[in-house]
C-alpha cells in the first residue's frame, strides 16, 4: 500500500479509537483529580484547571465543526466565529434571565445593562429566554438559520474559494459591529456577564463546574461520533468528492449545493453548541467573539492538528490553546512570537499537521 493509503487507513481507525480512549480517560481522571484527590496534593487538579480543560473541549467541538466543512468539504469558512458566538449569546441570554432580581438594580425582568441605560422594557427578542428549553433550541436554531440563509444564497450562486471565505468573513465582521452597538440590546461591548445560576445550580459551585465539564466532554464525544458517522457514510464520500472535483460530482448527478448547504448548517449548529457550552464556563460572552481573527484561529487549530481528520482537529484545538495559556503565563511579553512562529513552522513543515507527523513517524518505525 502507498503512503497515502496507509495514512488513510491509520487515520480512520487508530485515530478515532485513540481519541475515544483519551476522552474517556480525561472524563474519568479530571473529576478524580479534582474531587477525590485532596487540596494541596501535587496531583490535585483545581477547579480552575477543570474549567480550562472544559474550555479547550468546547473549542475542540468548534474545531470539529470547522474541520467538517473545511477539511472534508473544502469550504474555508472564516465565519464560524459568528455561529459560535450566536450559540454563546443564546446561552448567555438564558443565563442573564436566570439572574432575575439578583441583578444590582434588583429588576426582575431586565438585565442590569438595560436598566442603567434606562430601557423601558425587555425587547421582544429577549422573550422566552427565561426557559432553558427555548434557549437550548435557539442555540441550534440561531446559527443554523443564519447558516441556512447565507449558505443558500452563496452555494446556489456557486460562490467558491476565496470569494466564499471573504464573504463569510464579511458576515461575522458585520455581526461584530452590530453586536457592539448598544441599541442592539445585547449589552454592547460589555456583552453578557456576571451569571449566577444554570438550571438552578450555582455556577460557582465546583459541582456545577464539574457537571458542565462532563457535559462538554459528552458533547465533544457525540460531536466526534456524529462527524465520524457523516464522514464515513456515502454522504461523507460525496462531500469529499465535492472537495476534490466539484464539477465532476455534478456530472454524475449530485446536487452539490444541497450537500454543501446541509453540511454547512450542521457545522454551524455544532459551532453553536460549542459556544453554548463555552459561555457558562468562561462566564462572559461579548462581541469580541465575533472577531474574524477568531475564525482564522480556529482554522489554524485545525491545520495544526491535521485537516481532514476529526481527531486531528481536536488535537489542534487543544494543543494551540494550551500553548496559548502556557505562553501567556511563562513569557507574557513575547508569547506572540512563539505562537506566530508555531503557525509558520507547522504550515511550512507539517502540511498534514501533527497527525501527518505521527503517521510519518509510525511508517518510519514500520519500515525499520
Amino acid at each position: 500500500m502507498t503512503f497515502m493509503e496507509r495514512l488513510l487507513a491509520w487515520r480512520n481507525e487508530r485515530g478515532a479509537f485513540g481519541f475515544y480512549a483519551v476522552l474517556l480517560a480525561t472524563a474519568v481522571l479530571v473529576p478524580l483529580l479534582n474531587l477525590a484527590v485532596p487540596e494541596g496534593s501535587a496531583l490535585h487538579m483545581s477547579t480552575y484547571t477543570v474549567t480550562l480543560v472544559g474550555k479547550y473541549m468546547s473549542y475542540a467541538i468548534l474545531a470539529v465543526a470547522v474541520d467538517l466543512i473545511w477539511g472534508y468539504c473544502g469550504i474555508l469558512s472564516l465565519g464560524h466565529a459568528a455561529f459560535f458566538a450566536l450559540g454563546g449569546y443564546a446561552m448567555g441570554m438564558y443565563l442573564m434571565r436566570q439572574i432575575g432580581t439578583r441583578g444590582v438594580y434588583g429588576n426582575a425582568e431586565m438585565p442590569d445593562f438595560m436598566v442603567f441605560l434606562n430601557w423601558s422594557e425587555l425587547p421582544w427578542y429577549w422573550q422566552g429566554f427565561d426557559m432553558f428549553w427555548f434557549a437550548a433550541i435557539m442555540v441550534l436554531l440561531a446559527p443554523g438559520l443564519l447558516a441556512y440563509v447565507f449558505g443558500w444564497l452563496a452555494f446556489r450562486s456557486r460562490v467558491t474559494g476565496v470569494y466564499l471565505s471573504i464573504i463569510t468573513q464579511a458576515l461575522t465582521y458585520a455581526l461584530l459591529l452590530a453586536f457592539f452597538r448598544n441599541e442592539m440590546g445585547f449589552g454592547g461591548n460589555n456583552g453578557l456577564t456576571d451569571f449566577k445560576e444554570i438550571l438552578g445550580f450555582d455556577l460557582k459551585a465546583p459541582g456545577t463546574r464539574m457537571a458542565l465539564f462532563l457535559a462538554t466532554a459528552l458533547a465533544l464525544g457525540l460531536a466526534f461520533a456524529a462527524g465520524r458517522m457523516i464522514t464515513r457514510s456515502r454522504l461523507g464520500r460525496v462531500v469529499q468528492a465535492v472537495r476534490d472535483a466539484e464539477s465532476r460530482t455534478r456530472f454524475i448527478g449530485y446536487r452539490v449545493e444541497s450537500y454543501k448547504l446541509w453540511l454547512f448548517v450542521f457545522s454551524a449548529m455544532l459551532a453553536g453548541v460549542a459556544g453554548a457550552l463555552y459561555v457558562p464556563q468562561v462566564g462572559i460572552i461579548n462581541p469580541g467573539e465575533f472577531n474574524p481573527i477568531n475564525s482564522i484561529e480556529v482554522v489554524i487549530w485545525v491545520a495544526v492538528g491535521g485537516r481532514g481528520t476529526l481527531y486531528g482537529a481536536v488535537l489542534g484545538a487543544v494543543v494551540v490553546n494550551y500553548a496559548k495559556t502556557w505562553f501567556t503565563t511563562v513569557l507574557p511579553d513575547i508569547w506572540l512570537y512563539a505562537l506566530g512562529t508555531l503557525f509558520v513552522v507547522v504550515t511550512l513543515f507539517l502540511p498534514q499537521g501533527l497527525v501527518g507527523l505521527f503517521a510519518k513517524l509510525k511508517l518510519r518505525r514500520g519500515a525499520a
Binding site: A154, S157, V159, G161, Y163, I167, I296, V299, A303, T347
Partner: protein, 523 residues
C-alpha cells in the same frame, strides 16, 4: 499678594493710569477679570498696549514673586510699560496664563490694533476676526476706520461687517438696507443673525424685515444643502482613496499571485513606522522627511515582502489557504516585533504645514488639504502601478507568470525571481500606503489590523486580479459608506456596506470586474 501688586503699581505710575493698574493686577486676576483688564489695557491707548497684549497672547507675559509683570522679548525680560530691561531669572517667574475664552478676547482687541496695520491682508484678517464678536467697541473701531480706509477690498469687508452690525439697527429701513447689502454673504454669522430675525422668539418686529430676512435665509439654505452634497461626495471619495491605497498592494499579492497575505496590514504598518523613523532622522525638515519616507517605506516593506516570499510563500504556491495560515502567524510576529522595538505606545508623526488646514472655496465649502492630497497621491500610486504592470518588461513577466506559470517557465522567464519581485512590489505599495495613513491615523502596532479586512473586501468586491476593479471597488465602497452615514450612522453604514458586499458577491461571484478565463478559479 494683591496688595503687593497694587503697591508696585502705585510706586511707578500716577494714580488713575488705567494701563499700569490693569497690568499690575494681572498676576492675581481670575480669567474673567483678566478679560476686563485686557479691554482696559486696549482702551488705555498706551503705546506699549499692543505689544503687551500680543506678548500675553503668545504666552510671553510673566510675573515675578513680587507681582511685578515682565514681558519676554528677544533680548530678555522687559518692563511692559517702560520697555526697560530688568534683571529677573526665568525660573522665579510665573507665566500669566490664558484660556480659550481669554485668547479669543485678546485676538478680538488685537484685531482692533491690526486695523491700522499697513498690510491690507492683515487689515482684512482683522475685520474678519472682529466680525466674530461685534461689540460696540468693535463697531466703533470699524466705523472710525471706514473713512480712512483706502483699499477697496478692505472697505468692502468693513462694510459687510458694519452691515452685519446694522442688522441690529433701530430703524426697519436701516435693517432692510443691511439685509440687502449682505446679499451674497453666506457666512455663519450672517445666517444665524438672519434666521433669528426671520422667525422664532427673537424674530424681527417689522414684517417686511422678517420676510426679507426669511428670503435671504432660504437662499443661503439652498446653497448650504448643495455644498453639503458636494462635501459628502468628497468625503466619500477621500475615504475611498484610503481604502484603495490600503488594498492596492493586496491587489497585487492576492489578486495577481493568489497569495492570501494576512500580513499585508503589518506591511502597511511598517511603512507608517518608516515615516516615523524618517522624522526622527530629520527632526527639522518634517515635510522633506515625509517625502523621503515614501521611497524609504517602499524599500523597507518591499524588502520585507521579498523576504516573506522567499522564506515562506515560495514553499506554499498552489496552497493559498496555507499561505493564509502562515502569513497570519507572521502578522502576529510582526506586531509583537514593533511592540518590542517601538514600544506598544502609538508614535507621533508630525503633519507638515502644507498638509494641514483646509482649502476654503467659499463660506460654505472647504476641503481639507490632507484629504485632497491623499486622493491625488492615491491616483499617482495607482497610475504608477498600472504603468509598471502594463508598460514594463517586469509587468509583462508578472502577467505572463500569473496567467500561465508553466508556459512562462518554458519561455525562459525566471518565474521564481518574478514571484519575489511581484510580491516585493505589492508589499512596497503597502508600505507607501502606510506613509499616507501615518498622516491620518495612529501609528501603532494595531494599525495593520484595522485595515486588513477592509482591504480584502475591496479587492474581492472589485474582482480579484484586476487593478481597475480595486480602484472602482474602493471608491464605490467609500462613497456608499459616506452617503449612508448621515442617516444610518457610522456603524450602521459600515454594516450595510458589508451586507451589500455579501449580496453583491451572490450576484457576481467574481466581483465587479471578473477575471477572464480559467485563471479566475483562484483556489
Amino acid at each position: 499678594m494683591l496688595w503687593l501688586g497694587g503697591a508696585a503699581a502705585w510706586a511707578q505710575a500716577p494714580a488713575g493710569n488705567e494701563f499700569d493698574t490693569a497690568v499690575a493686577s494681572l498676576p492675581t486676576a481670575s480669567y474673567m477679570e483678566k478679560e476686563v483688564l485686557a479691554g482696559q489695557i486696549a482702551r488705555s491707548g498706551h503705546p506699549q498696549a499692543q505689544a503687551l497684549l500680543q506678548g500675553w497672547l503668545d504666552g510671553k507675559l510673566h510675573a515675578d514673586a513680587s507681582g511685578h509683570v515682565w514681558l519676554e522679548g528677544e533680548g530678555g525680560y522687559v518692563d511692559p510699560a517702560s520697555g526697560s530691561a530688568g534683571k529677573v531669572e526665568a525660573d522665579d517667574l510665573e507665566k500669566i496664563g490664558t484660556n480659550n475664552r481669554l485668547r479669543k478676547a485678546l485676538k478680538g482687541v488685537l484685531a482692533q490694533f491690526a486695523l491700522a496695520s499697513p498690510a491690507a491682508s492683515a487689515r482684512i484678517q482683522a475685520v474678519r476676526e472682529m466680525r466674530r464678536e461685534l461689540d460696540e467697541s468693535a463697531v466703533a473701531a470699524l466705523q472710525a476706520r471706514l473713512p480712512q480706509e483706502t483699499e477697496a477690498a478692505v472697505k468692502h469687508e468693513i462694510e459687510l461687517a458694519l452691515a452685519l452690525a446694522g442688522l441690529q439697527a433701530g430703524e426697519p429701513a436701516q435693517r432692510l438696507a443691511a439685509i440687502a447689502s449682505l446679499d451674497g454673504d453666506r457666512s455663519a454669522e450672517v445666517y444665524n443673525r438672519l434666521s433669528q430675525m426671520a422667525s422664532g422668539d427673537e424674530a424681527d418686529a417689522d414684517a417686511a424685515v422678517r420676510n426679507a430676512a426669511g428670503a435671504a435665509v432660504r437662499s443661503i439654505e439652498s446653497w448650504r444643502s448643495f455644498y453639503q452634497g458636494v462635501e459628502t461626495l468628497f468625503f466619500g471619495l477621500s475615504l475611498g482613496s484610503v481604502l484603495v491605497l490600503a488594498a492596492i498592494g493586496l491587489a497585487i499579492t492576492f489578486g495577481v499571485m493568489g497569495v492570501i497575505n494576512m500580513a499585508h496590514g503589518e506591511l502597511i504598518m511598517l511603512g507608517a513606522y518608516t515615516a516615523y523613523v524618517m522624522q526622527l532622522l530629520l527632526p527639522n525638515h518634517i515635510g522633506l522627511a515625509l517625502l523621503l519616507s515614501i521611497p524609504a517605506a517602499f524599500i523597507v516593506s518591499g524588502l520585507v515582502g521579498v523576504a516573506i516570499e522567499r522564506g515562506i510563500v515560495r514553499h506554499l504556491y498552489g496552497r493559498p489557504l496555507e499561505t493564509l495560515l502562515a502569513t497570519f502567524g507572521l502578522s502576529l510576529v510582526l506586531q509583537q516585533l514593533v511592540r518590542s522595538v517601538f514600544s506598544p505606545l502609538n508614535r507621533s508623526v508630525q503633519t507638515p504645514g502644507f498638509l494641514s488646514g483646509s482649502l476654503q472655496f467659499n463660506d460654505l465649502l472647504s476641503v481639507t488639504w490632507i484629504r485632497l492630497y491623499i486622493v491625488l497621491f492615491m491616483l499617482i500610486v495607482f497610475a504608477a502601478l498600472w504603468l509598471t504592470l502594463n508598460k514594463t518588461s517586469l509587468g509583462l513577466k508578472v502577467r505572463a507568470v500569473s496567467q500561465n506559470r508553466r508556459m512562462a517557465t518554458a519561455m525562459g522567464i525566471a518565474t521564481s525571481r518574478v514571484d519575489a519581485m511581484t510580491f516585493g512590489l505589492g508589499s512596497g505599495i503597502a508600505g507607501i500606503a502606510g506613509v499616507a495613513l501615518s498622516q491620518l491615523t495612529n501609528v501603532g502596532p494595531n494599525l495593520g489590523q484595522a485595515y486588513i479586512i477592509d482591504s480584502f473586501m475591496v479587492v474581492v468586491f472589485g474582482g480579484v486580479g484586476n487593478l481597475w476593479g480595486t480602484l472602482i471597488g474602493g471608491m464605490a465602497l467609500g462613497v456608499t459608506n459616506k452617503l449612508l452615514e448621515p442617516w444610518a450612522g457610522a456603524v450602521m453604514a459600515k454594516i450595510l456596506v458589508l451586507v451589500f458586499i455579501i449580496l453583491f458577491i451572490q450576484r457576481r461571484k467574481q466581483g465587479l470586474f471578473p477575471q477572464k478565463g480559467r485563471a479566475a478559479e483562484g483556489h
